[in-house]
């Protein structure tokens, strides 16, 4: 033990609490250590980088309630040694969200995934796998939330008849993602403790929706045409319009060529026909 010559405990605790409670202050202090952002002589004695990482641990712990929805995303962030710095970077955004009041869990998941997209280095194999994984898990989490909310209302897929004049919309919760690797392969490798970095790229378009029973979630690989049909289904454009759009883009498909794929997407719960109301 030695004589105390440094800042008082009261000062030190005050500075620590101030920067940990205000990510803006911590970021400012970190980016300009010489800035007198804290009117306290104790500030110069701190290892700001380590405090910043500690704020990452605290932010990570605050997001523990999202782990059941994103278990493997959290596990991979941890095992790849990324979680502390990711959550330290995310602390400011998370604090802003908290200031907005009660934010729903799906909104917090969406915010976290959006920030992760910006934060990741997509040329790095593990980072791109993380991006695949968070979209996979968050899509399923969203659908489960939707399934719970829909128990009292009509499930998807109640209307299946359509014509070339019908417009289509995506079924509630249906999304598609262009993945670099098959999520099933990522999950298998992760659960078996395999080497994710050596998992070969397996690009594909994956679609997520509630099954026609409105309870189970469906994940499926879809082809380029199905992806186009999902994107083009805006509730306004008819099947005829879609065929014209394809032809204008140089794709030699007739409207009749779209009927079977559309019926298939409706049957799988990805799309729903809507009536076009013609206004005078």
């Amino acid at each position: 033990m030695s004589e105390q010559t440094g800042p008082s405990a009261r000062q030190v605790h005050a500075v620590l609490a101030a920067v940990l409670s205000q990510p803006t202050l911590l970021d400012l202090w970190r980016s300009s250590p010489s800035t007198q952002c804290l009117q306290c002589g104790a500030a110069a004695d701190f290892d700001v980088s380590k405090i910043w990482r500690f704020s990452g641990l605290a932010t990570k712990v605050r997001h523990n309630d999202l782990r059941p929805s994103l278990p493997l995303t959290f596990a991979l962030l941890d095992s790849a040694g990324l979680s502390i710095e990711f959550f330290a970077s995310y602390a400011l955004r998370a604090a802003d969200l908290r200031k907005q009041g009660r934010i729903s869990k799906p909104a917090r998941i969406a915010s976290l995934a959006e920030f992760l997209y910006m934060w990741l280095d997509h040329t790095h194999a593990i980072h791109s796998i993380l991006w695949d994984l968070v979209r996979h898990e968050s899509s399923i989490a969203d659908l489960r939330t939707l399934a719970t909310a829909r128990t009292a209302i009509a499930p998807n897929g109640s209307k299946t008849a359509f014509s070339v004049k019908s417009a289509l919309v995506r079924s509630a919760g249906a999304v598609r993602h262009e993945m670099g690797r098959n999520p099933a392969s990522i999950i298998k490798t992760l659960k078996e403790g395999g080497d994710l970095a050596s998992l070969p790229p397996e690009p594909g378009v994956f679609a997520y929706c509630l099954a026609p029973d409105g309870i189970r979630t469906s994940v499926m690989v879809i082809d380029e045409l199905a992806a186009f049909l999902m994107d083009a289904s805006d509730g306004v454009r008819s099947v005829l319009d879609m065929a014209e759009w394809l032809q204008d883009s140089g794709v030699p498909l007739e409207v009749g060529d779209l009927l079977v794929p559309i019926a298939d997407l409706i049957g799988r719960g990805l799309l729903q026909p809507v009536e076009i109301s013609l206004c005078a």
Partner: protein, 282 residues
């Protein structure tokens, strides 16, 4: 001061920190654990969590007393902790040797104390040892059951510190006559971050005051060891457990895997059996 208590703590009890995986694990593995440790903060946020008493006896854990703080927690908070502790019948209250609240920074526009939602390792100094002893002295009078204090993990040097975290813990126990909640993972983390030999230093602690042990995972990122209740305790943590249990017999050992959505039955049962094996040799 005695830490005795309900019959289930007649020998060293083994329990789980309350988390999403705890109750399902207990349901799948009846008779393998003896209690659930419940954080006051969770109980305060969700009073329904008290129903865990229907499944297992409960030990109350707490962070809100901020015992290494210059800012005293609101009386309403202390009253609520006291009431919850009585309601759930906890044999003691485990509290962090740390702070959550602090004064506003000199010259800042803020004039109210800053309160965090998590605990922070305090300055390790005579000034703070004195402060902790004063705080504990007034706090203990408020509760009908003993308080025990838990060592913090140290992630970085705290400016103005004049002693190691081990000496700090020793001094608090020497001066305050208080029971020890030894978090072996926190101790391991501090040893890795501050560069001391945990097997030598842990035997300097007053293990005769040991009441409860915590075991959880740790994670090394960016050159620092971090607490990780979603990870599994490493061999080094179990080596410390074995060493400690050769010198002391705590009333309870708590596995803190409360961040993990699911617990692997086989891994956790192996760890429980491992600790029971160590205890059988004491």
């Amino acid at each position: 001061m005695t830490y005795a208590s309900p019959s289930y703590l007649g020998s060293t009890a083994i329990g789980l920190a309350y988390g999403p995986g705890a109750l399902p694990f207990i349901a799948r593995n009846p008779g393998r654990t003896d209690f659930v440790e419940l954080p006051y903060e969770l109980l305060n946020h969700d009073p329904g969590a008290a129903s865990v008493r229907d499944v297992a006896p409960v030990i109350l854990h707490c962070a809100s007393m901020s015992i290494a703080s210059f800012v005293r927690p609101p009386e309403t908070t202390l009253d609520a902790i006291s009431q919850r502790a009585v309601d759930i019948g906890t044999p003691w209250i485990g509290e962090h040797l740390a702070f959550m609240s602090a004064d506003p920074v000199d010259g800042s526009a803020l004039h109210e104390p800053t309160t965090l939602t998590y605990t922070v390792c305090p300055q390790l100094s005579e000034e703070v040892v004195d402060l902790v002893c004063r705080n504990l002295s007034s706090l203990r009078a408020r509760f009908s059951m003993p308080l025990i204090v838990e060592n913090s993990p140290q992630y970085f040097q705290i400016p103005g510190s004049t002693m190691s975290i081990v000496d700090f813990v020793i001094e608090v126990h020497r001066r305050c006559d208080i029971g020890m909640l030894l978090d072996l993972t926190h101790f391991t983390i501090s040893s890795m971050n501050m560069g001391f030999d945990p097997k030598i230093e842990i035997l300097r602690l007053p293990l005769d005051r040991l009441v409860e042990i915590h075991i959880s995972g740790l994670d090394v990122q960016a050159g620092t060891a971090w607490d990780d209740h979603a990870g599994i305790a490493t061999d080094s943590v179990f080596e410390l457990a074995e060493l400690v249990l050769k010198h002391s017999r705590p009333r309870a050992v708590t596995f803190e895997y409360n961040w993990a959505p699911e617990l692997s039955d086989s891994v956790l049962l192996d760890q429980i059996n491992c600790v029971r094996g160590m205890l059988s040799h004491v």
